[in-house]
């Protein structure tokens, strides 16, 4: 699942460590989220959305995989 996490973080002028501390997760989790290796739980996604003051859909972009289409 793609996301705009890195773009939003850089726009706010904070590094991964600061964002991790604000969200109470590890810096490695932020790194994995940004490069798409890890998808957040719904709780973490809500916390991220609340932190940036945006809806979840504007941060995390869900795309159907071609094999899932009916």
């Amino acid at each position: 699942m793609k996301n705009r996490l890195e773009e939003l973080r850089r726009a706010r002028g904070i590094n991964q460590e600061e964002l991790a501390r604000a969200l109470e997760v590890s810096r490695q989790t932020i790194g994995s989220l940004e490069n798409g290796r890890y998808n957040p739980s719904i709780l973490l996604a809500f916390r991220i959305a609340r932190y940036f003051g945006l809806p979840i859909e504007e941060i995390f972009i869900y795309e159907e995989e071609s094999g899932d289409e009916a």
Partner: protein
């Protein structure tokens, strides 16, 4: 302090009783050894658990490292792989025991391997009711 945290403190007197039984219980040597090992293990587990609970309360970096959802997922996945590896190694150990003529240890290990899926099914049933 939560009730289950207080239970860990009971491990210390329990370990003392086991150690006392080992030293003054007049038990056979093998039982004495087993009681001593059990006492040491109990102290180790209780102390580690209490230290873990304390650090969760007082050390924010430790709390993040332990409760971070990605780390939890990693530990769960690693645990599953390690469990499978342990089962395979136990199977190899049972075969080695048989090859060396130790039938009873081989049967014990095979019994543990057989019980493992039953434990998995039981715990899955329990968790299914709670989740």
């Amino acid at each position: 302090m939560k009730r289950n945290q207080k239970l860990w403190y009971l491990g210390y007197p329990a370990a003392a009783i086991l150690a006392a039984a080992a030293v003054w219980g007049g038990v056979p040597e093998a039982v004495r050894l087993a009681l001593g090992v059990a006492a040491a293990a109990l102290v180790g587990v209780c102390h580690t658990s209490l230290l873990h609970e304390k650090m969760l309360r007082t050390d924010p970096d430790y709390r993040v490292a332990v409760l971070d959802e990605r780390n939890l997922a990693l530990r769960e996945k690693a645990g599953n792989i390690a469990n499978a590896a342990n089962l395979a190694l136990m199977g190899i150990a049972a075969v080695v025991f048989l090859g060396l003529g130790y039938t009873v240890p081989a049967l014990v290990v095979w019994g543990l391997i057989t019980v493992n899926p039953l434990i998995l099914i039981g715990i899955s049933s329990l968790l299914e009711k709670r989740m």
